[in-house]
Amino acid sequence: MSAIAIAKKDFQDAVRSRGLIVLTAIFVLFTVAGAYIGTQVSGLLGDEAGDTLDLIIGLQTPASFLVPIIALLIGYGAVAGERESGSLKFLLGLPHTRQDVVLGKVLGRTAVVAVSILIGFVAGMIAIFAFTGSFSLLEYAVFTLLTVALGFVYVCIGVGLSSMTKSTTRAAVGAFGLLALFWILWSVIAQLLLYLTSGSVFPQPPIPGWYVAFLSLPPGPAYGSALGAILDEGGLAVASTYEGQGLVEGGIPIVAEPWFGFVLLAAWAFVPLAIGLVRFDRVDL
């Protein structure tokens, strides 16, 4: 109950930030552009224009880059910012526990990110309808829901990091360091490990299972896997690149199975959040 009151207050506060409006505008721009490119591509491939699934694939790319950025920007200052400014003293002077604060922040900021995503996707929906004249609401709704889940995961990461430090600068460095890890370093590490084990930086059949598993781990690929599982479109998962060719040694590892994306998303949400909760609960403010 306490966490809900904080979430409500936090939502009202954060949703009024100017930064959010700018981010949402950028997101709208990208979804409309993504919808347009998706329409063109599906036309070029000779598919019937307006296959919502193709369009979703067109939208998945901007979403999987922009949603983490939006969610981390919204999340990283959530707790550290209140510690820095001193409003945490007001907040914790009221009968809330520290856990209430962290959980309330996660709920409130997730709601903020969800609003941003919904605005972006409604714009995308209108664009798709304008470009193609047809639309599958169910698939689109599922896609939207999973994207909000991705937002939730990154809010948990952002708020978790924010709970571990009293400096918003450090939380921001942590958040964007993590993005660099997921987006750049992760594949570099994968190539390096591959080189060390096989002597080549290019995966050659038979591709080791661990390599496919490793690449499937970060939240982005996990989101793709989960989307693939629920929309029954294997092409969205990392493993699909290799699976179709039957090249993976010993078959697709369980970690790279599309349904396992949900497990990974849950882990990426709850592990950083749990660490943040424990740290924040012990620290002198």
Partner: protein
């Protein structure tokens, strides 16, 4: 029953000791003034009561609840005006009080609350980003007193208030005590405490150096005198020489003027001591010792 009970509490930040072996008891229904210069450990004590920081050793209890284990239970009965806090710039004053009352699970007349802390109806609808320091302080006080808490913890409550605001704050404090609340408030300004407190504790370097009623403290100073001595020059070691005298509690100097707090009967001994040290006394006068002097004695550390 005691509202606040600290037992042998020590708090260290790294190598720095903020509080050492502090024992403190505040009775229910009293106004307790917690005095001390900045850095004496007042805020640390309050932060311990609110579980913002945890004791290195010792026990902190409020209404019998352990501050660390049962912090929420404590804060359900306590209104808090912290020091060095800020509010949410993008939210209105009304939203703040709505949030505070919702958090406390109470239903009160928010307009009446605004009026009580001296904020007009236009302030309620205004975003707090546009508030002055004094208005912010009043709003936070409104949040603290909402729902008639059994205990009020006020950390430097007059911060940012003009004299009229400070007087209004004292009136609210008295009214809250009269309805039965216990009030614990800290200040580095004596006159605020003097005017309103039932009992005063003076903290210095993390230790309670005096604790009494305001009248009791006054009595203790009654036979003390402040001697202002004008010298031709201040010889090296003169201050220490005088401070070491029996019956001298404090010596401060400013240029060639020395201010000595001492017992009435050692005044001439003090003058002689300056001359022994090599100075010529050009003039001197005595002032009646005040509570202010006592406070300075206790808090500057020159006490003999």
């Amino acid at each position: 029953m005691t509202a606040i009970q600290l037992t042998d509490v020590t708090k260290r930040y790294g190598d720095e000791t903020a509080l050492s072996g502090l024992d403190l008891a505040v009775k229910e229904g009293e106004i307790y003034g917690f005095l001390g210069p900045n850095g004496a450990g007042k805020s640390t004590t309050i932060n311990l009561l609110l579980d913002f920081v945890r004791p290195t050793s010792g026990e902190v209890r409020v209404f019998g609840h352990d501050a660390q284990e049962e912090g929420r239970a404590i804060r359900e009965r306590t209104g808090i005006l912290p020091e060095g806090f800020s509010l949410y710039d993008r939210l209105t004053g009304r939203k703040h009080l709505e949030f505070a009352t919702e958090s406390k699970g109470i239903d009160v007349d928010i307009d009446a609350l605004f009026e009580r802390v001296g904020l007009g109806p236009d302030a309620a609808g205004k975003k707090v980003g546009g508030y002055s320091k004094g208005m912010t302080q009043r709003l936070a006080l409104g949040a603290a007193i909402a729902g008639e808490p059994d205990l009020l913890i006020l950390d430097e409550p007059s911060t940012g208030l003009d004299p009229a605001g400070a007087r209004q704050m004292r009136e609210i404090i008295r009214a809250e005590r009269d309805r039965g609340a216990t009030i614990f408030f800290s200040s580095h300004i004596l006159e605020q405490v003097d005017a309103v407190c039932d009992r005063v504790g003076i903290l210095r370097d993390g230790e309670l150096v005096a604790e009494d009623t305001v009248d009791g403290l006054r009595d203790a100073t009654a036979d003390e005198t402040t001697l202002v001595v004008e010298l031709d020059h201040l010889p090296e070691g003169a201050t220490e020489h005088v401070a070491a005298l029996e019956g001298v509690s404090n010596v401060t100097t400013q240029g060639t003027v020395a201010t000595v707090t001492c017992r009435d009967d050692v005044k001439s001994r003090v003058i002689r001591a300056f001359e022994e040290a090599g100075a010529t006394v050009e003039d001197f006068e005595t002032e009646e010792s005040s509570l202010e002097d006592l406070f300075i004695d206790y808090t500057t550390g020159a006490t003999a």
